[in-house]
C-alpha cells in the first residue's frame, strides 16, 4: 500500500472521532435516582403499596395512565378497581399525586434520569403548588 504511514494514522483518528460518543460514556453511569416515598399520604397507609404491585407500576404506569385517560374521558367511567379489589378514582392529579405529592422527588427524578418528558403538567396541576 502506498503512503501507509499517512493513511493508517488518519484512519485511526477518524475511527476515534466517530466512536467518541460511545466510549466517552464509559465509567460515567449516572447514579440511579433516589425515589422518595416519604409523603404524609403514604406514611398513613397501613400497607405501603401502590395501586398495583411495584413491579407492574414501575414498568407499566404510563400504559395504566393512558388507559385511565381513555376510560375516563372517552368512555365516561370514573372508578378503577385494582386487582386486589381496592377502588380508586381515576385521576392523575387527585389520585397519583395525592400519594406521590412529592412529584419533584418521585416522578420527576426518575423521569429526568430516564430522559422522559411527559407533557401532562402543561395542563394537569402537579404536586405541591
Amino acid at each position: 500500500m502506498y503512503d501507509k504511514k499517512i493513511i493508517i494514522p488518519i484512519l485511526a483518528v477518524i475511527v476515534v472521532v466517530l466512536t467518541y460518543p460511545i466510549w466517552s460514556l464509559f465509567g460515567k453511569g449516572a447514579a440511579a435516582p433516589e425515589l422518595d416515598l416519604n409523603t404524609p399520604e403514604i406514611q398513613a397507609l397501613a400497607e405501603k403499596e401502590c395501586i398495583e404491585d411495584t413491579e407492574f407500576m414501575r414498568s407499566n404506569h404510563m400504559e395504566l395512565l393512558n388507559e385511565w385517560r381513555i376510560k375516563s374521558v372517552r368512555e365516561g367511567t370514573n372508578v378503577y378497581v385494582a386487582s386486589d379489589g381496592q377502588e380508586y378514582e381515576m385521576s392523575l392529579q387527585n389520585t397519583c399525586l395525592s400519594c406521590h405529592s412529592n412529584k419533584e422527588n418521585f416522578c420527576d427524578s426518575c423521569h429526568s434520569y430516564a430522559e422522559v418528558n411527559p407533557d401532562c403538567w402543561d395542563c394537569h396541576v402537579g404536586g405541591e403548588l
Partner: protein, 253 residues
C-alpha cells in the same frame, strides 16, 4: 417440497399478515385485567337543560361557579377570551327571532349561553382527530389530549361555544383549582356539561349555583324527569333551530 418463486412470495405475504395480526391484538388489549366502573349509571340517558330566562337576573353566579372550578382563564382581550358559559342579549342569543317592537324587558334581558350539546353536532363532524365526540348520553366531550388546535370545530359551531387558547392560560387563572386540569396554549376548549360530576350522580355547577333555580337539568329520555315536565308545560325554544343541530339546551322566554 417444490415451490416456485410466485408461491414463495405469496407465502411470505401471508406470514407477514399473521405477524401483523398478533401485533394488532396486543395494541388493542388493555394493560390491566381490572374493571372500570361508574358511580352513577349513564345508561340510556340523554342529558338536557332548560333555562328559564324569566327567573334569570343580573347576577353572574352560574358563570363564576363554572369558571372557577374548571380553571377557565379570565382574559380581557375580547378576541382572545375563553369562556364556557356566558351571557348575551336577546338578539345575540336568538338572532333570527327578534323584532322591532319587543318589550323593553326582553330587549334588556341577558340569557346564559353555553355549549348546546347538540344531538346533531357540527363540531364533531368536522374534527379531524375525533378529539371532540358525542357520548352515548348526549354530552359533547372534548378530549384535550387529542386536540391539535386546528379550530375546525370553532368554524363549525354556529353558537360560538368554543374558545381557543391563544396563549398559556395559567397566568390568567386567579385562584387555581388544584383538583381540575387547566388547558394549554393551542387547544380549543368548551363546556363539558360537568361530565366529571354527572358520573358521580351530581348536577352541573351552573344548575347548583343558580339561587333562583332558573336552570333545570335532567334526562330527556325519561318522561318523568324535570326537564321533560317543563318542556310539556311551557313554551320553550332552542337557539338557531333552523340549522338542524338539535340543541339540548332549551329556553323559556
Amino acid at each position: 417440497m417444490k415451490m416456485d418463486r410466485r408461491n414463495f412470495i405469496r407465502m411470505c405475504g401471508l406470514g407477514l399478515l399473521g405477524l401483523g395480526a398478533t401485533k394488532a391484538d396486543k395494541i388493542f388489549a388493555d394493560v390491566t385485567k381490572s374493571k372500570y366502573l361508574r358511580t352513577a349509571s349513564l345508561q340510556g340517558k340523554r342529558w338536557a337543560m332548560v333555562i328559564d330566562s324569566r327567573k334569570c337576573n343580573d347576577c353572574d353566579d352560574c358563570v363564576a361557579a363554572c369558571h372557577k372550578v374548571h380553571n377557565v382563564p379570565d382574559i380581557n382581550k375580547k378576541e382572545q377570551e375563553v369562556k364556557w358559559i356566558w351571557k348575551e342579549g336577546f338578539h345575540g342569543t336568538f338572532p333570527d327571532l327578534g323584532h322591532q317592537y319587543m318589550t323593553e324587558k326582553l330587549e334588556k334581558r341577558l340569557f346564559p349561553i353555553l355549549c348546546n350539546h347538540c344531538d346533531n353536532p357540527a363540531c364533531v363532524r368536522v374534527c379531524p382527530t375525533k378529539a371532540t365526540f358525542k357520548r352515548e348520553d348526549g354530552v359533547i366531550m372534548m378530549d384535550y389530549h387529542r386536540c391539535i388546535g386546528c379550530r375546525y370545530c370553532m368554524a363549525g359551531c354556529p353558537y360560538g361555544a368554543r374558545s381557543f387558547n391563544f396563549q398559556d392560560p395559567r397566568p390568567y387563572i386567579k385562584n387555581m383549582n388544584n383538583e381540575y386540569p387547566t388547558r394549554t396554549k393551542g387547544v380549543v376548549e368548551k363546556c363539558n356539561f360537568c361530565a366529571e360530576l354527572l358520573v358521580k350522580g351530581e348536577l352541573p355547577l351552573c344548575v347548583q349555583a343558580c339561587k333562583k333555580g332558573a336552570i333545570t337539568f335532567g334526562d330527556l329520555n325519561d318522561p318523568a324527569s324535570p326537564v321533560r315536565k317543563i318542556l310539556e308545560n311551557e313554551a320553550t325554544i332552542q337557539r338557531k333551530p333552523s340549522l338542524g343541530t338539535y340543541p339540548s339546551v332549551y329556553y323559556i322566554v
